[in-house]
């Protein structure tokens, strides 16, 4: 089973271009938050890897929910 060890060489299937690191803005419960994610330079679609969703994003969600 293939595992991603880095974000390199991830392709956007529709645009057939390589994803690039880019800043993405998030909103949750009326608060804003931003972090680096992979984004398709052509169509702008964003990829959130598991480590980010269950790490930094989950922590920020918890902090905002507790406010």
């Amino acid at each position: 089973m293939a595992e991603f060890v880095s974000y390199e060489d991830i392709l956007c299937s529709r645009c057939r271009v390589r994803m690039e690191l880019a800043r993405a803005d998030f909103t949750y419960l009326g608060h804003n938050f931003h972090t680096e994610v992979m984004r398709c330079p052509k169509c702008g679609a964003v990829y959130i890897p598991e480590e980010l969703a269950e790490g930094k994003i989950a922590d920020a969600e918890t902090a905002l929910e507790d406010k």
């Binding site: 956007c12 529709r14 994803m19 964003v46 959130i48």
Partner: protein, 749 residues
């Protein structure tokens, strides 16, 4: 938020207040602390506590009738704790009784104490310890007053002498004082004893503060007509009032209230073991006897709800504090301060046990529901906590809903309301039960497949909850207002509250009335009472009868009946607090090694998801399963609801129902067991995963690397991501995860 309303839910809570014995003690002695020290053999420390609170502890103990023993909680179990004997032992076992001397600077203010009896001596010593210049004027030739006639005077005299020895107190004996020539001093305490002169000072005297009308003069002790113990209390109070007068220059306010906070509530002794009082083998206790007797103290402080509830234990907050914080949270100005109780409010099962178990019915759950509703109205309650369940509720009320009057035409005498999750767990539960009612018993019985609205209640959405109740009221009206037969006690609870005009009956009480042959005992099982069953003793009893008739020898769990605890599902806390949810469910399945028999579909599914053998009572009644049936995944619950609707419609009406089939349902998808478990834990439906897969495979946004494809989908307020690979003709799921944050502009660019 209405502060009074928030506080009223838990106003009966008396946790943290002084114990009943302290309440009864004229000196408000902290006897919990005293017995704790005695139990540990710290006799000198116990002695110092008594001395600092009583000044002459042995004398007071000899004079005191021990009202603490009269009120002790242990008297309801066996015998009161023998505080008086413990005090005697403390005096015997303490070697060093000489007072501690504090080197404080001398104060210039002069205080005159008129009368060398107990009250005067107490006041004089207290002020002398504070280094005031104290003179005691005594009419007779020695101090002691009426104590000198006490049979134990010798003992008292020795103690008073020891305690006064390091301090400087000037005594003027054989000096009767007569009005108007009170001695020249900055403050005067008149304590001339039972037959002493009042110098006319009792006119305008305030018994609360001991203040006379004239500035700087206080009157107390037996001259005011009180007892020895009160005289002693007066001496202490006079010292305190004199010092406060000397510091401020003002006499005390008359109207000031006595100390508040002494409630005198009893904790429950239910289930406590008996242990009779230890009697002294000799004149007083030995060390061992004293420690054993002191250990009988229950350290009375109510923890009934906290002992019962994991949520209260986890956050270590008693109901009073919960109400306080709930109100404080409601007035928080965003940015200026933080809310403190959001997670707790979302972590309550709303099972009502805290209220039922509280001797004063303090209701932390009701306060928490109030807060959830308030948070929803303020727009600060995280929607992700309840979104999943609200979507399931909508599905049950719309896609899977059915209302029919049954064979009797337009209206019916009864209507079966199984609740949304019974058929979702196993359609046969509803089909069999309905057949029993409408066919075997030939009742004029209709059927409503829908939801009682409890998910809306738990989500704090009161308006939606009321709308659902109103809709159900209309449905019942159209059926001729039949009696409602509930299979779920949570539905029962909701309907009783929302539709008080409707007669509600438990399915189990009805089934119990039908004749059935007894089955020989096949197995033992513990009945797990659902939390909402506390309001229906008849349902609880009927379930036990049905179980026995079905060959189950019923065993009782420690927490059953009125004390039934929630399986963990209640209040829909799983998304808000998965760790606590895990802990609660783990604790419930560990209560007994026996299989469980319950009568709530959610309890059954919750236990099954933890691998606990758990059957629904209808499994036993209809011989459907022994409780080893695996839990039903989210998407299968929906399928079961639809299948039930179809089967019922085809059997009992002339209508048909076509179960909608979506394109993604036909895709070949393998989901490894680990990921299935994760999906159940994080409330991700297989349907959602399939939708994401279908969209990605049909021209939607998709990423790829080395044969693995990535796609996402927004379901409600949650974004679900999947990683998958092709596997022959179909697909295999590699990863699944979710987040609640939204990407500005959307994840699809």
């Amino acid at each position: 938020m209405d502060k009074e309303k928030a506080m009223a839910f838990t106003s009966g809570c008396f946790r943290g207040e002084p114990a009943v014995c302290t309440n009864a003690c004229p000196f408000h002695l902290d006897l919990r602390s005293f017995t704790e020290k005695m139990q540990k053999g710290r006799f000198s420390s116990a002695y110092r506590q008594l001395r600092s609170e009583l000044i002459f502890p042995e004398t007071v103990s000899l004079l005191c009738s021990a009202p603490c023993e009269g009120v002790c909680t242990r008297k309801f179990l066996d015998d009161s704790v023998r505080i008086h004997d413990l005090e005697s032992a403390c005096f015997e076992l303490t070697k060093k009784k000489e007072p501690q001397v504090y080197r404080l600077p001398a104060r210039a203010e002069r205080i005159a104490v008129i009368g060398g009896g107990l009250s005067g001596l107490v006041c004089a010593l207290r002020l002398a310890i504070r280094k005031y210049s104290v003179t005691v004027y005594e009419a007779s030739g020695s101090w002691g007053g009426s104590l000198k006639d006490h049979p134990s005077w010798e003992k008292m005299e020795a103690e008073i002498r020891t305690q006064m020895s390091p301090e400087k107190i000037e005594f003027v004996f054989d000096h009767p004082v007569g009005s108007p020539d009170l001695p020249d001093a900055d403050a005067v305490y008149v304590a001339t004893g039972a037959s002493g002169s009042t110098f006319g000072l009792l006119d305008g005297w305030d018994p609360g503060t001991l203040a006379a009308a004239a500035k700087g003069i206080f009157v107390g002790g037996k001259v005011t007509g009180c007892s020895d113990i009160e005289a002693c209390l007066h001496g202490m109070k006079a010292a305190q009032q004199i010092e406060s007068y000397l510091l401020s220059g003002n006499m005390p306010d008359h109207a000031k209230k006595e100390e508040a906070g002494f409630c005198g509530h009893y904790i429950s002794t239910e289930g406590m073991e008996k242990c009779p009082a230890v009697l002294p083998s000799g004149g007083t206790y030995t060390k061992e006897e004293a420690a054993a007797e002191a250990a009988r103290c229950l350290q009375c402080d109510c923890s009934a709800c906290m002992d019962a509830c994991e949520m209260l234990q986890k956050y270590r907050k008693d109901p009073l504090r919960i109400s306080t914080e709930i109100y404080q949270d409601s007035v928080v100005v965003a940015g200026a301060s933080m809310r403190t109780i959001g997670r707790e409010v979302s972590s309550c099962n709303l099972c009502g046990l805290c209220e039922r178990i509280c001797p004063e019915n303090a209701d932390a759950g009701a306060a928490i529901l109030y807060s959830r509703r308030d948070r929803v109205s303020m727009g600060i309650y995280p929607p992700a906590f309840h979104d999943h369940w609200l979507r399931e509720m909508r599905f049950a009320m719309e896609d899977a809903s059915l209302v029919m009057a049954g064979s009797s035409g337009e209206t019916c005498e009864y209507v079966f309301f199984p609740g949304c999750q019974l058929g979702a767990s196993d359609p046969r539960y509803v089909e069999k039960a309905y057949a029993s009612l409408a066919e075997e018993a030939d009742l004029s019985c209709g059927l409503i497949l829908s939801c009682c609205g409890i998910p809306a209640r738990w989500a704090g959405m009161e308006e939606l909850e009321n709308d659902i109740a109103e809709r159900l009221r209309e449905q019942l009206h159209a059926l001729g207002n039949p009696k409602v037969i509930c299979a779920c006690t949570s539905c029962e609870r909701s309907l009783r509250e929302k539709l008080p005009e409707t007669e509600i009956i438990s399915l189990y009480s009805v089934l119990c009335g039908f004749p059935k042959e007894e089955t020989p005992v096949k197995t033992d099982a513990a009945v797990f009472d659902p939390c909402a069953s506390s309001l229906d003793a008849s349902a609880r009893q009927s379930v036990r009868v049905l179980a026995e008739r079905s060959g189950i020898r019923v065993q009782e769990l420690a927490w059953h009946g009125e004390k039934a605890r929630c399986c963990g599902f209640g209040g829909h806390i799983q998304a808000a607090n998965p760790e606590l949810y895990e802990e609660i469910t783990r604790n419930r399945i560990s209560e007994s090694d026996l299989p469980y028999v319950t009568y709530c579909a959610n309890c059954r599914e919750t236990f099954a998801s933890r691998g606990k053998q758990a059957m629904h009572i209808l499994d036993a009644v209809y011989g459907l399963d022994d409780g080893t049936r695996p839990p039903v995944p989210i998407n299968m619950r929906r399928q079961n609801m639809l299948r039930l609707k179809k089967d019922i419609m085809e059997k009992y009406t002339d209508q048909t129902f076509v179960i909608p089939r979506e394109a993604w349902e036909d895709m070949e998808l393998q989901i490894p067991e680990e990921l299935q478990k994760k999906m159940a834990r994080t409330l991700i439906s297989e349907d959602t995963v399939r939708k994401a897969l279908y969209t990605a495979e049909n021209g939607g946004v998709r990423f790829e690397k080395e044969g693995v494809f990535i796609a996402s989908i927004k379901e409600g307020v949650v974004t679900v991501w999947i990683h998958y690979q092709k596997n022959g003709e179909g697909y295999e799921l590699v990863k699944v995860y979710s987040h609640r944050m939204e990407i500005a502009g959307g994840q699809n660019g």
